[in-house]
């Protein structure tokens, strides 16, 4: 089964990053400059090796794992050994159809990010940090131990903090701290929830992999298995009251990460200040950690509470969706607009979850994936815009179609993909969300006016994207004719590595838009498995359980 593969997935980039950083740690500036080229190449090579691995795993070249048909709470490539035995902490990794697309996405985005930010300054340090970021992100997705999960969850903050701090914009100091503190605050509450959950396990019958000191375990499959058994027959695992509290505590951490309104204000600041590479990974994968976490923990463990909080989640999702979109319309900063559009898209994920329909969940999963490909392109475009025109204001540069056709084309493509143009990756998720939402509203007898939100957003999204394109790609009026030069230099189009990155991202946006089943079949299968393995035995009918 080649189970060992999941180990180097995490270890390899982290170790590679540390080794590369050790190379440059005690060097002076000129040395670092000379080193930056080989280190960049090495980073690219490492990330490509990773991508080869995960792609091979997808095509069943490694491990011969069929990603469809993995039943709920079963994992492939599992690997476990004892870590901190006294507390029941194990190094447990494994993949299922929920985490694998995210892992692949991470490994896909790493080389693309490296290429897109090929000429980033101080590359000798920058690229290893990107690698470390990738390793931490993969760690989050493969971890099957609460302690490990939390550990990697926080570990992702550190490289991102440095990316923003060292390579960020003018207010990077403020933004990086805000980013760190905001998400940290939420996740420590989540941590307390995890620990409380941990101690609510029954210690009398020692669990598998239990700690010698505590008699409880951090092992996610074991906990999930227990929850699954206890949740049946209308029972609430751990009891209704505790379950609700724990659900809320865990969700807080994930909602902030997602982010959902009103916990979203760290995101625009972080994005605007972050360097392009940071933004790409932040929007591409890091936000998805929130959604991934929701599926992995609160939903899998507390389906009753999910149903109980359904209305709240639906409201938050709807507010995120609408609020994010409307705020976009009022933005003058290109990157901020894109950041808020991420908030809006994450609302789609929440709504999908709140529908409690396999289709809605598949929509959420596919949105995670599709947004993970589209949003890096959005930010790559923003980064290129900033890099070449030294401003992030919409309208700082006009008539790009004339002087920078590559950037203009990329921008238009990315914008169109993000506003959900059919046959590009984002559309399928939006469509499925709409259908699932409507189906849910009708079936459960909710007011159909919930539909107003998505409808409004579909129009508003088009409005802000088109409006911004009018003021950048096209020319906006007599008084703002496109400049013929920039600081005396001819206006540059994007550089070759950037072009390459754009082409790759665009290509995959089209591939997953035209052939969504490549990823969607596996996600669909997972949602069916979790529904048939978890939700149906427990709820067994609308409005049941609670």
């Amino acid at each position: 089964m080649q189970d060992w593969i999941s180990m180097p997935l995490v270890g390899f980039p982290l170790v590679a990053s540390i080794v590369l950083l050790a190379f440059v740690s005690n060097t002076n500036e000129s040395m670092r400059k000379r080193l930056s080229d080989p280190i960049r190449m090495a980073s690219l090579l490492f990330s490509l090796i990773l991508l080869t691995f995960t792609t091979g795993m997808f095509f069943q070249y490694f491990g011969n794992v069929s990603w469809e048909g993995i039943s709920f709470n079963n994992y492939e490539f599992t690997h476990r050994y004892t870590w901190i035995e006294s507390l029941g902490i194990h190094w447990t990794v494994g993949l299922d159809a929920l985490s694998f697309p995210m892992v692949w996405l991470t490994t896909f985005l790493l080389p693309v990010t490296i290429i897109a930010t090929w000429n980033e300054k101080n590359g000798a340090v920058y690229f290893p940090i990107l690698l470390a970021m990738g390793g931490a992100l993969i760690g989050v997705f493969v971890a099957l131990d609460l302690f490990m999960f939390y550990g990697f969850w926080e570990l992702t903050l550190i490289p991102m903090f440095f990316l923003i701090l060292k390579w960020g914009g003018k207010d990077r100091k403020y933004a990086s701290q805000k980013f760190f503190i905001y998400t940290f605050t939420a996740s420590v509450v989540m941590l307390l929830g995890l620990i409380t959950l941990y101690f609510f396990q029954d210690p009398v019958n020692p669990l598998q992999y239990a700690g010698s000191m505590t008699g409880r375990t951090f092992d996610i499959p074991t906990i999930t298995q227990h929850a699954l058994m206890e949740n049946s027959n209308g029972n609430w695992y751990l009891g209704a009251n505790i379950q609700k509290v724990l659900f809320a505590m865990l969700m807080l951490g994930f909602l902030v990460k997602l982010p959902a309104v009103p916990f979203h204000t760290w995101l625009p600041d972080a994005h605007v200040q972050a360097p392009t590479g940071g933004s790409m990974l932040l929007a591409g994968v890091m936000l998805k950690m929130g959604a991934y976490g929701m599926f992995r923990l609160p939903i899998s463990l507390f389906p009753h509470a999910l149903q109980y909080f359904q209305f709240v989640l639906m409201t938050i999702g709807m507010v995120s969706l609408v609020w994010g979109a409307i705020v976009c319309l009022g933005q003058t900063n290109l990157k901020k607009m894109v950041a808020y559009s991420s908030v809006s898209h994450m609302g789609v994920i929440l709504i999908g979850i709140a529908t409690m329909q396999p289709m809605g969940w598949a929509a959420a999963l596919f949105m995670m994936f599709a947004h993970g490909i589209i949003s890096p392109m959005l930010f790559a475009v923003c980064g290129a815009f900033k890099h070449h025109y030294h401003s992030m204001e919409i309208g700082a540069m006009r008539g790009m179609a004339k002087h920078s056709p590559w950037l203009a084309t990329s921008m238009m493509f990315a914008w169109m993909a993000s506003l959900g143009l059919p046959l590009l990756a984002g559309f399928v998720a939006e469509l499925m969300m709409l259908i699932a939402l409507w189906y849910f509203l009708v079936a459960e007898g909710w007011s159909v006016f919930w539909m107003v939100g998505p409808a409004l957003v579909l129009a508003v999204t088009a409005a802000y994207y088109l409006w911004s394109m009018q003021r950048t790609i096209f020319e906006g009026g007599d008084e703002t004719q496109p400049p013929t030069s920039l600081d005396g230099e001819p206006i540059p189009d994007i550089a070759n590595p950037e072009k390459l990155a754009m082409i790759i991202l665009a290509l995959f946006t089209i591939v997953f838009g035209v052939m969504p089943w490549i990823a969607l079949d596996m996600m669909h299968d997972w949602t069916i498995q979790i529904f048939e393995g978890l939700i149906l035995p427990i709820l067994g009918g609308f409005n049941g359980g609670a």
């Binding site: 901190i84 507390l87 503190i181 605050t185 420590v188 101690f199 009891g239 505790i242 509290v245």
Partner: protein, 574 residues
Amino acid sequence: MSKLTTVEPFGDGFVSALCPELMLFAGMLLLILIPNLGRGTFRIPGTQLRLPWLLGGTRFKFTSDPRLPAWIASITLGGAFLNVLYIFSQGLERVSIVSESGKELLLVNGFSRIFELIFFGALALAAFSSMNRLQVKGIGSKVTEQELYNNRRQADFYILMVTCALGMSVVALAQDLFVLFIGLELASFSTYVLVAFLKESKVGVESGMKYFIVGSVASGVGLYGLSMLYLWAGSLQFTVLAATFAESGTTALPLIGIGFVLVGFGFKVSAAPFHFAAPDAYAGATSPVAGVLATASKAMGMIGLVRMLLIVAAPESSDGSAVWLVCLGAMAAITMTWGNLAALGSDNPKRMLAYSSVAHAGYMLAALTAVGAWNWDAAVSGDASAAAVAVMTALLFHLVVLVAFKLGAFLVLSILESEGGASRLSSLGGLAKREPLLAVAMFIFMISLAGVPPMAGFLSKLLVIMGIVRVAVGDMGAEIADGGIYALGDMHWVWWLALLMVINSAISVFYYLRVVVVMFFEEPEEGREGPLPNGWQVRVAILACVLTTVLVGIAGDSLIRLCEMAAQSLNYNW
């Protein structure tokens, strides 16, 4: 658990049991003696005959080396530390040292050993890294560098360090409250002088004076409390006190007495509202000394609290809560919150670390509170006392790893201090450019203090929270499995301390990150662009701290077990 052997003072087994302390004593004597060796002669009275007796006079080149006392102290303390480690590796023996009249004086067990580890480790690191310290520049024109480097004063500094260690280990060993108090005073007096050691600077003496006055008042109150307890129980043996308390503990006299004693210890752990002197003392003292105050001294105070609260005023085993539970819980909440909020507004990194150590004291007090509530769940079966052990384990673990990252942070500051001061945040500016590895080390210390995985600070905080939650949850998990239904409010209220604690650690990220931002983002202060002063010793010490922080964070299992063993050895009735 190994058998308890009883030993009389200077009887069989006394030396092997107190080997580390005796090593310290010998080292202290050497510190007094060796730097004074010289070509001193002694004239036989009435004659012209001068006999060389090697004391005083022009000193030998070897003995006049300013680094010599530091080496002696470091070797002594480090030797003691290694000795303790060796003892751990050989398996512990529990030795009780009992006076002829049958009074139990000292007890060597896992609990005391682990504190010895903390004390000796912290002081050894501090002494070793002080070796190459240059004095702060520009304290006054009348002081020459020659004088500052004066060998004899260096000797004083390290003698005090060793006595401090000695006093602390007495505290750890003491089985009689008065013996404990004497050890505490020995350590305190040493620290008073160490804080005020820079007598050529306004800051140094001022902080010394403040620390001295507040400390003396606290120990005065404590001593008076001791006398009250003595009046009440007729003995200050812990065993006697505990037994008497179990009989008639809820009368006014012992409660007031215990309260007074706690004031004395509360000052040491800098718990609110007795923490006021701490920031001043830390800011004025040299950084390694401040580091010692924040780690070893705090651990010493914690021993007192543990002895008084958990041994003497032990929580009752029948229905749970100790009498002091609410009081200590409130104190913990106030301490952690106050410390964090005060640290937010501080621009002086040393003050900031001082307040952060106040906050850490709050976390530890929260853990102690949880121990006090260990038995609240009346339905609890035999497993419950393990909950108390778990919290205690967490507390000990926290104290141990605190040495690594808190002292480490102070040591980083000490390098800056010897360059030109570390009393402003901006003095850390551009550290990442000037010496990247040092900045990375500081970064690791900061995130460890903040409790970010995978550092030791995270594991310790996790353990503390886990301990508290475990106590709060009690046996509900098992009962839910049997069909019990519980709400959040059914948990013990110490759970809210855990919540407060996680929120506080989130707040604390603010000021820890600020340090990081300054190091990595801001330009160095004017005139400080160049390389940092040399001194491999302090860098080695920092490296040791970094390694401990990271390794314990990644693989802390054996240390957890060690602490668990120590916690179990404290067990009297839980």
